[in-house]
């Protein structure tokens, strides 16, 4: 079996804006794959094409998580959901006026097998399905760490009344309820405190251990580096690097994209210096280990946004 999901030359243009430009990548089954990149790099656009919310301008989306190999281009979002691809959204999209439990039960939509006449006649098989779904929905709430016990009564609360982090967990519970083969998480850790992020990392690993392939977009580098098996980096709609987290972290193009060109140059200089010193030679005055297409950095180039990346 090949990759669960394969992007072949995936391209999306909005008028003159090239949001995603000919991206090739693979998501291996049973892996946690991360898609990273600076803001506006085209990550969410990629997700939206995979889940059928955008139609690609060019390229192919090949999915092998179902029974047969499927080409996702041109399918509607609900058809793609039926192929067992579930997702969460960057801006949480719950049904705020409905209860927590009902939000999870929406996730069972693709798994409901009762015919409308069975619904109307309230047949025993329909009732059994409903009961099983409700029990399972509660189990999913507990699975993601939202305590579904009757005492706290979280399941009867309106989704809107949950704290931010719990809303994200609820969205994951809803996505899991559809029994996905591939789960797309769009910035699951956004707005979470470090403790919540730790819990989330455990949850994502737990999901993976259930045989679900996880493909996620995330800005929290600690999360990405710790849990991903494979990382793909986008910048300005193009793939600039991919590989194991450790490789990607050292990739000069990635450093340049994240920290600005100047910082990247400085880092490569330091690196070269160290290497040259090790080999006993004089440090070369000018080095250019960074990406070839990189432009000359302006004097007031952006400072590195975080210290996370500096060794």
């Amino acid at each position: 079996m090949g990759a669960v999901l394969e992007l072949r030359g995936l391209t999306k243009h909005f008028g003159g804006v090239k949001a995603v430009q000919s991206v090739d990548m693979k998501v291996e089954p049973g892996s946690i794959t991360a898609l990273i990149g600076p803001n506006g790099a085209g990550k969410t656009t990629c997700f939206n094409m995979i889940t059928g919310h955008y139609v690609p301008t060019a390229g192919d989306l090949i999915y092998r998580g179902g029974e047969a190999e499927e080409r996702l281009n041109g399918l509607r979002a609900d058809q793609i959901a039926k192929l067992r691809i579930a997702r969460t959204f960057q801006n949480i999209r719950l049904c705020p006026e409905q209860t927590v439990l009902d939000n999870v039960r929406i996730g069972f939509h693709t798994r409901s097998r009762s015919a409308p006449w069975q619904v109307l006649l309230n047949t025993p098989s329909f009732r059994a399905e409903e009961a099983e779904m409700t029990a399972s929905a509660r189990a999913f709430l507990e699975f993601v760490g939202l305590d579904a016990s009757q005492e706290t009564g979280i399941e009867a609360l309106l989704a809107d009344s949950l704290p931010y982090g719990d809303k994200r967990l609820l969205e994951i519970a809803r996505a899991l309820a559809s029994n996905p083969s591939l789960l797309l998480l769009d910035e699951p850790a956004a707005g979470m405190n470090p403790q919540e992020t730790e819990t989330l990392m455990d949850l994502i690993r737990k999901v993976r251990d259930h045989g679900i392939t996880v493909f996620l977009i995330e800005h929290d580098m600690k999360l990405v580096m710790e849990i991903s098996d494979y990382v793909v980096v986008l910048d300005h709609g193009e793939k600039i690097a991919e590989g194991k987290p450790a490789e990607v972290r050292e990739n000069p193009k990635v450093v340049a994209a994240y920290l600005g060109q100047e910082e990247s140059d400085r880092r490569s200089e330091r690196l070269t210096k160290v290497k040259l010193e090790e080999s006993g030679a004089d440090p070369a005055p000018e080095t250019s280990a960074s990406g070839g297409e990189a432009t000359e950095a302006s004097p007031d180039a952006v400072d590195g946004p975080t210290d996370e990346e500096t060794p």
Partner: protein, 386 residues
């Protein structure tokens, strides 16, 4: 949704109360009895049609400004079928069933030729209404909210004009008169007889019961959850496998079926239908019942229907009396002013309606399903649609 128990109890009590109303008011004398039947049956029409509209507007979030067209279609289909060829349909059934007399005809009411004719008309009205909603929905349901509302508004006006002008089919502005009553023995001598005066009322209660059953069953299933998801978050609904176009159509068709049923109930009450019954204000009043009661709330919309129906009919009967007493003619349109004021007050103090869904759920609590603690997340148990 899991609220039911308390809600089911509420709905059952409401239905039983409606059934008992004619018996209770009988004790107050003939005049009060007739008045209560008149107000009661009028309320029933509002409750039925508001409940139908609740599926589309309240549960799916699709604003429909022309529900009266579908109610009218039901009423007109019934009226024209029943009167066609000099009541041929009733004559057809009369040839089959034995003529009953005395109390036996009440006990075996379902064998009455008029009633059989009404029962025949119902499915035809429903199918026609659903076909019409399909035809109207196919090209327009993809429009975003407000545009669809305008389409329904325009459609109701077109329907009104067609009915008014195509006299060869609809009898024009005179309307269809002398529609047979629900039961053949209701047409007897003009004296106050219990069953002839209450038959259409009980028929209305039965229709309301059917509506409530359908709406509650629909809502408490994956179909209803799909509708609610479309209303609350279209993108999330799609990503969970809900075909938005299909579910919008579903809500439109369920609405149109129930509205046609309401139309037949309207016909059974009035035994007459004319273009005046297709007034735009009726559409707005149905909509008011939904908004007033609480969008999507079955109990709330029931209360909204009672409130506006009763108010309307009481004012229709009461205003002339008041006018006569004070010696000054109060125009009948005053009731619309009053409706407007009530709506403004409700929106000011209870913006989510009399009985909003959220309040229902918290008050109702959730049904307890045993053994949920032992349940495992069923990743692979339920399987998926292929």
């Amino acid at each position: 949704m899991t609220l039911p128990r308390k809600e089911t109890r509420f709905l059952l009590i409401a239905l039983v109360a409606l059934l008992l109303l004619p018996f209770a008011t009988m004790l107050l004398g003939d005049r009060a009895w007739l008045l209560s039947l008149s107000v009661g049956s009028y309320c029933l029409l509002y409750m039925i049609n508001a409940q139908a509209l609740n599926v589309q507007v309240g549960m799916t979030g699709l604003l429909n400004l022309g529900p009266i067209a579908f109610v009218g279609l039901g009423a007109y289909t019934g009226a024209l079928m029943l009167t066609a060829g000099d009541n041929a349909l009733i004559g057809f059934y009369a040839g089959f069933v034995p003529e009953l007399s005395g109390h036996l005809r009440w006990v075996l009411f379902f064998l009455d030729p008029n009633f059989l004719a009404y029962l025949t008309v119902i499915p035809v009205a429903i199918v026609l209404s659903m076909l019409l909603s399909l035809l109207l929905g196919l090209p327009t349901l993809k429009l975003s909210g407000d545009y669809f509302a305008i389409v329904t508004l325009g459609f109701a006006q077109i329907f009104y004009l067609v009915v008014k002008n195509e006299a060869w089919l609809t009898k024009g502005s005179a309307g269809v008169t002398d529609v047979p009553a629900l039961f053949s023995f209701c047409t007897g001598p003009n004296r106050i007889e219990f069953f002839s005066h209450t038959a259409h009322y009980f028929f209305g209660v039965a229709v309301l019961a059917v509506c409530l059953y359908v709406v509650v069953r629909l809502r408490d299933s994956y179909l209803g959850r799909g509708l609610l998801a479309v209303r609350d978050n279209e993108l999330a609904a799609q990503s969970n496998g809900v075909n938005v176009a299909k579910y919008r159509m579903l809500s439109f068709m369920v609405f149109s079926a129930l509205a046609a049923l309401g139309g037949v109930a309207m016909l059974a009450r009035a035994k007459f239908v004319s273009p005046n019954d297709l007034n735009f204000m009726e559409s707005i009043l149905f909509l008011c019942c939904v908004v007033l009661g609480g969008m999507g709330s079955v109990r709330g919309v029931l209360l909204g229907g009672i409130a506006l129906g009763a108010l309307g009919e009481v004012m229709r009967i009461g205003l002339p009396v008041v006018s006569e007493t004070i010696g000054y003619e109060i125009p009948a349109q005053v009731r619309y002013v009053l409706f407007g004021m009530i709506l403004i007050l409700v929106m000011r103090y209870r913006p989510n309606g009399i009985l909003p869904v959220a309040a229902e759920e918290h008050a109702g609590g959730l049904e307890k399903l045993g053994a949920h603690r032992d349940a495992e997340p069923t990743f692979f148990k339920l399987g998926t649609k292929g």
